[in-house]
């Protein structure tokens, strides 16, 4: 019995230590924790952030710019810019919103180079306030409903509508997070998503009329 009295607390301590080690492993670290390490001079950890965001940002760029060429180059510039500005990142905020903000700027510059319907920083819909309500159940239902439309008609949307659809329904960001990425009021995000869905439905109906049921 005396032996058990000593062993039990010891094994519990070992269990706690093991769990602590597991939780502080690279895989379990949050983006913000990794960013904090990079801020403190651990350059190698930046590779983890690249691993986590490379595919996501490439996908975001392809959908947003509606093209495939040069996306990798732009994404590489995004990572370089992210590293250069890493000390500007506030680790109490979400790293994903911050890195997507940098990517957004890079892709908007990409649009300017393409010279096709560039996004203006001051759009009319940022003038007023709009009441919006975000319901996760509605989003899940809509995601299924919109899947076909997004797959076939996303390219027909204006970039400002295309971007909010990509960020909300593909990259899974909330209105509030999109507001931080695009630096526009949350109500404007809601109204852009609403208008983008209307445009998508219209484009989809036109396609259906042209080619029959898709």
């Amino acid at each position: 019995m005396g032996f058990l009295r000593i062993i039990q607390p010891l094994s519990f301590t070992c269990f706690l230590l093991y769990n602590y080690k597991m939780n502080t492993g690279e895989e379990n670290m949050t983006d913000e924790q990794i960013a904090s390490l990079v801020q403190n001079g651990d350059k190698e950890k930046f590779g983890l952030l690249i691993d986590r965001y490379q595919s996501k940002l490439t996908r975001y760029g392809r959908k947003f710019l509606a093209r495939r060429e040069n996306i990798e180059d732009i994404v590489q510039d995004v990572f370089i810019s992210t590293y250069q500005n890493i000390q500007d990142f506030d680790t109490s905020l979400k790293f994903s919103s911050w890195v997507y903000r940098i990517a957004h700027n890079a892709f908007v510059n990409g649009l300017k180079k393409q010279s096709i319907s560039p996004i203006t920083s001051l759009d009319l819909d940022v003038l007023l306030s709009y009441q919006v309500y975000e319901d996760p159940d509605v989003r899940e239902r809509e995601t299924k409903e919109l899947k076909k439309m997004i797959d076939s008609c996303l390219d027909t949307l204006k970039p400002k509508y295309r971007e909010v659809i990509v960020l909300h329904y593909i990259e899974d960001f909330s209105y509030k997070e999109i507001s931080d990425i695009l630096k526009i009021p949350t109500g404007t995000v809601g109204i852009r998503i609403k208008r983008a869905k209307e445009e998508l439905r219209k484009s989809y109906q036109e396609l259906e009329k042209k080619y029959g049921e898709l």
Binding site: I50, D51, K56, E72, F79, I80, Q84, N85, L127, S179
Partner: protein, 253 residues
């Protein structure tokens, strides 16, 4: 939440290229101080823009008040039209540009882009107008600057200040004066319309408009008159009280 496109492994790995540049020192991170300085510079620029904007707003108020131009609105349609024609539009436009610039700069901060642009602009205009009116009412800053302008020791805003003495006085049929005596259907005023005036500085007999009561007038009060001058008489169509214009050359002295 279901994603439409799962993680793609088909993309080329970027890591070696970007990370190699970082490892080799070809790409370096900006220091914390760099960003601190940038924020400080941004705050300074916004504050400066805001202060200049408030100054210009109070200057517009001062301009309208001391020139007597604000009283033109009381002269009916003709007066209102004159008011808008003589309004210091250049100052107003410079101020509008500064407000837009401040709004754009504020969008660098989180609270700046969370508030819709129109509300941010209205907030700016309200604060600016209230502070501008307060500065004008204290009546210290602008009179001092006006004195400097008249001594030609102020190159930047000198012209703007000197202009406050003239309008709307160079416009024909608008006269500025000080009441000397009041009778039942007329009063006597010393008219001083500035250097570019249509009538010489002198005492004039002002015939009151038919509906105007003489007991409204007080001796020593400053007034703006709309009317037709002939010899030493002005037949007034409109009369409005104004504040004492700076550097009014009193003919009695």
């Amino acid at each position: 939440m279901e994603n439409f496109e799962t993680k793609q492994n088909t993309t080329e790995k970027i890591e070696p290229s970007a990370l190699e540049k970082i490892r080799s020192g070809a790409v370096i991170a900006h220091s914390k101080n760099y960003f601190r300085l940038r924020v400080i510079a941004l705050i300074l620029v916004i504050s400066l823009t805001f202060l200049v904007s408030i100054f210009l707003c109070s200057l517009v108020m001062f301009n309208l008040r001391v020139s007597g131009q604000a009283a033109l609105i009381g002269f009916g349609n003709h007066g209102t039209l004159l008011f808008f024609l003589l309004f210091p539009w250049k100052l107003f436009l410079v101020n509008a540009v500064l407000i837009i610039l401040s709004g754009l700069l504020l969008r660098s901060f989180r609270f700046g882009y969370k508030i819709p642009v129109l509300y941010l602009g209205i907030m700016f205009i309200i604060i600016m107008t209230i502070v501008g009116i307060a500065i004008d009412q204290v009546n210290f800053l602008h009179p001092v600057l006006l004195r400097n302008a008249n001594n030609n020791s102020m190159p930047l805003f000198g012209g703007v200040y000197q202009r406050t003495e003239r309008p709307p006085l160079y416009i024909e049929n608008i006269y500025r004066g000080k009441i000397i005596s009041v009778d039942t259907d007329y009063f006597v005023a010393s008219i001083e319309n500035g250097k570019e005036c249509c009538v010489p500085p002198a005492e004039y007999k002002i015939i009151l408009p038919a509906s105007f009561r003489a007991d409204k007038l007080k001796i020593g009060e400053f007034i703006l008159i709309e009317g037709n001058a002939k010899d030493d008489t002005i037949v007034a169509t409109e009369i409005e009280a104004i504040q004492e214009p700076p550097f009014f050359e009193d003919l009695d002295q």
